[in-house]
Symmetry: C2
DNA sequence: GCAGTTGTTTTGAATAACTCAAGACAACTT
DNA sequence: AAGTTGTCTTGAGTTATTCAAAACAACTGC
């Protein structure tokens, strides 16, 4: 049913110099549907379409695709590693402290204040990793209703 | 020898409403000497002065002190949790991708651009976690010399 | 279309960081 | 000095992740 998408993903893999395999396409498909997923979640999403696969295979695929630049790995404090397909632009993330939901946060366009620390102490800064922590709209509602009881 | 410091640390603990124990003072002392240390490193530093202690005890102390606000826990992607005594001010960190060295980076005083994402998507932002990645001066030197061979 | 080569996946086990639980023990209170 | 409360010790367990070797499949050239 989603052959078109699969073909596009196959091209994406080929362009990155990677062999096109079922698990890899399935992982990319899963991450297109549910971004910011951890290895276990991806494994669960992939399992129906690739019955014989294993969690280790997913780890292998994720590592290969991350190395190839097709995936970005984010590791918020306290959670396991999450993966997303949006690479290249350097956007950040906001994590809900209540439910763990993750959402993309675009950096201010035009200048990147986060990338220029006031004093790097002689370090050569290469990348900035920015994670915001807060409460998502759903959990705000839930919390308000609870306190209103 | 460092009784003065120990007494000060004891007061710090007491003011936080915590009981003053040898392991706790030792952990605070260790983190005063070597900030940005992980549990295992702290354990190693504490062991000589508290012979009968264990890694689990260190974890327990670190958790208690972090909850009490005496310690800040930082978790850079890919490494284990690190602890430091500098709390209250919201400074950030830069991690060397070569050797793992960590250094404090003060946020730009006056305004905190990193704390105000362009679009939080309805999230209520509470804290921003910023980690820079780069190469420390020592490793820069080492890399330059290697490539000059 | 078919065999070869290279790289990927499967299978199984191992590691590291961290957490949990129960009893022994020590710090502060009166 | 004794009691209470909270802390530490000891030991085991959990989870995310990685490593290694053999089976297997994808792209190449014939």
């Amino acid at each position: 049913m989603e052959t078109v998408t699969d073909a596009a993903l196959a091209d994406t893999l080929r362009e990155a110099g990677l062999k096109v395999t079922e698990p890899r396409v399935a992982v990319l498909t899963a991450l297109t549907d549910i971004p910011h997923s951890d290895a276990d979640t991806i494994f669960g999403a992939v399992l129906p379409s690739v019955p014989g696969t294993s969690l280790q295979a997913v780890y292998g695929v994720l590592a290969a695709l991350t190395t190839a630049g097709l995936l970005r790995k984010i590791e918020p404090a306290g959670s396991s590693a999450l993966y997303e397909r949006r690479t290249g632009d350097n956007h950040h993330h906001i994590v809900c402290t209540e439910c763990g939901a993750v959402r993309d946060v675009d950096c201010v366009v035009g200048h990147a204040p986060c990338l220029t620390p006031s004093d790097a102490g002689g370090f050569t800064v290469q990348v900035a990793e920015v994670n915001f922590w807060g409460v998502c709209p759903d959990c705000q509602t839930a919390l308000t209703q609870t306190s209103a009881d």
